[in-house]
Symmetry: C2
Subunit: 434 residues, 2 copies
Amino acid sequence: MSNIKARLLKGFRDLLPCDAIIKEKFLSNIKNTFENYGFSPIYTPALEYIDILTGKGGDENEKLMYRFQDNGQRDVGMRYDLTVPLARFVALHKNELNFPFKRYHIAPVWRAENTQKGRYREFYQCDCDIVGSDSVLSDVEIVSLINNTLSNLKIEDFLIKINSRVFVDFLFNIMKLDEEGKKKTAILMDKKDKLPIKVFDDELEKLLNNEQINIINEYFLIDNIDSLQKFMSKLEIIPDELKNEIDKFKKIFEYCLFMNKHLKFDPLIIRGLDYYTGIVFETVLVESPQYGAIFSGGRYDGLVSLFTGEKIPAIGASIGISRLITALEERDFFGEKKNTVSDVIIFNLDEKIQSKYLDIACIFRKENIKTDIYHENAKMKKQFKYAEKNGYRFAVIIGEDENEKNILKLKDLKNFSEKEISLEHAVREILSTF
Amino acid sequence: MSNIKARLLKGFRDLLPCDAIIKEKFLSNIKNTFENYGFSPIYTPALEYIDILTGKGGDENEKLMYRFQDNGQRDVGMRYDLTVPLARFVALHKNELNFPFKRYHIAPVWRAENTQKGRYREFYQCDCDIVGSDSVLSDVEIVSLINNTLSNLKIEDFLIKINSRVFVDFLFNIMKLDEEGKKKTAILMDKKDKLPIKVFDDELEKLLNNEQINIINEYFLIDNIDSLQKFMSKLEIIPDELKNEIDKFKKIFEYCLFMNKHLKFDPLIIRGLDYYTGIVFETVLVESPQYGAIFSGGRYDGLVSLFTGEKIPAIGASIGISRLITALEERDFFGEKKNTVSDVIIFNLDEKIQSKYLDIACIFRKENIKTDIYHENAKMKKQFKYAEKNGYRFAVIIGEDENEKNILKLKDLKNFSEKEISLEHAVREILSTF
């Protein structure tokens, strides 16, 4: 017998039922919130022409792409995120779509990056975006959606940190940074929370002169939009674009008052220097900061125009579900894991009664009781062991005796109790635990 | 502005919301039935080592794979189906799994094959498999699951055609076919329903001698298991393995009586000559035969052993969801399509009332009413046009007047009626249409 070694590619993983059940529940919960906010699903392919994927990605992203030539000698790549495919989608179907266009997309993406805890080369993103509106309402709706998505998942310690690329651009211009200087400063700012203060200050000194350092250090201390306005207007006359963005931010905070301590202005948030043009945000778990941002995004008014030439404003957010689940697992968020979705197992005691087992399964299933039948006519002990390992709540036992009396034994495997009851009674009993 | 042409790879497609909404509903319905039968989800990666994917696929499959070298010079491929990855999964996690192991997997697969109507190079499969049982109950449960999955989707004209590779192997041996002859005859049999009788008979004559043709033609006429038994025993003394398989089939038909006209023995079903070892089945839509098999599978007791050396019996079935939806679309199964999942849109008439729009959306959403707010402060006509195109059931209108009176206008966009009512009343009104 030829034997092929069963193995996984580095950075990839399987999910066994115990973990897949949790992920499915999470995804379904997220999907419900997205739809509750009026976002509709779309699908785009896993493979795209490589020039579309690399469009505005920059060298760094390009290196991390799974790319190859297909059988037709086309240069193709596996999608790296869901935002660039969305921009391509909007450009291609512009005349069929109804703007503002609100879509969600829950799907895997692939990045050939170094693996670390909670990071894999294949992972799921849950994205929601509004394309075709630059109204403050669309910013507010996206921020509010983040808040409610996480609340609906029963996560309480999240903090949405927001800033705007308009503020950062103004600051960098005041500081007279060139493109290279902007890029390096942005990368460093992104690391500020992770670096020791001394190291950060040393790095800053290498990049900036004293005057620049004074400005940026004062900027780092700002923690609300009024202080930001004061700080900015002290530096220079505030141009219209900046004024509008500050007004927008005031409205966002006014409309999002209900979010309370979950929303905070944070001058450090930049989200790289790629396609963002306005509001940017990152959401962290306050009690698990080591996992970084788990729900991020921002406004990118220039991305769609890469494919159409026409500027179409857009804003979106994306949850990294794998990282979020890893973070929550560490704090025992999910309790005892089950190896099956089933509520009940019907034991198989007598081949002559098999058709009855099938009938009962059929009746349970009609009542939306998820039901297994033990397939083999094995020893009771083996069947109990199987049931215990899978984690069913109930076992149904019908041997010759029970069959003749037209009753069944219903074992509650959680409370270790047992009843001899009618089928009808058993259905009610099981449903009462839902 | 650099412009990249928005385009899709040949054989790939996007789904716009109107189609994605249908697909999501279908997938969720299928998932519910699979879980109702006690199948639990798993995840496996889109990419696997190529030797795993090609393991027992044969030349034909290998040509159709998306394969390449990754950055680490590993030979990898995108999964071609969900069955081979399952076999690899079972081999890898054998010690963590609880057998019989029942899993479902709903995910895309990729094949670089010629495109045709309803067939794409990326398509979704919905697979359910039972690994670790050769009991007749597992065969019955899979067949019953197919029946109920399609019934729950409100499809009525399906026919599950079943046969066994044990029967076909016996027949081919009686006919004294060599491996090449078996393969060619199997391929031809698979095409019998699609070829004109004359063409089929000519092809058969090229392959077989008169005696063989007489045997196989008689075999083709068999339409139930009793006739099959008679036919087989006329040819030769029935060996034990065949006897057991015939008994198994009798039980399957006995236990599946409730399926009535939806289940039929069909001597033509073979499903290629690759990994199947026992029962094989194909499900067709009686009124759309041109779409071929839409829910197929069988018993494959040898596949897992490719990776473990240890024989583990398995049976499974797979729906080709894209093809099924295409077939149903042709018969106008889905009615009028909607471009949004939302029930309600709140119009945006006055910037000063925006926070009220947000509050109302929040209240609706808490009641599980899927709610949109029109983001821009646009003309009524434009907002109505948007609402009409998206297909909401209700529009909520609050201008200065309504705001002062603390009421709202609820427009029923289906029945063209309008009411001035309180918010509380509106919630009840909308919920009453669910």
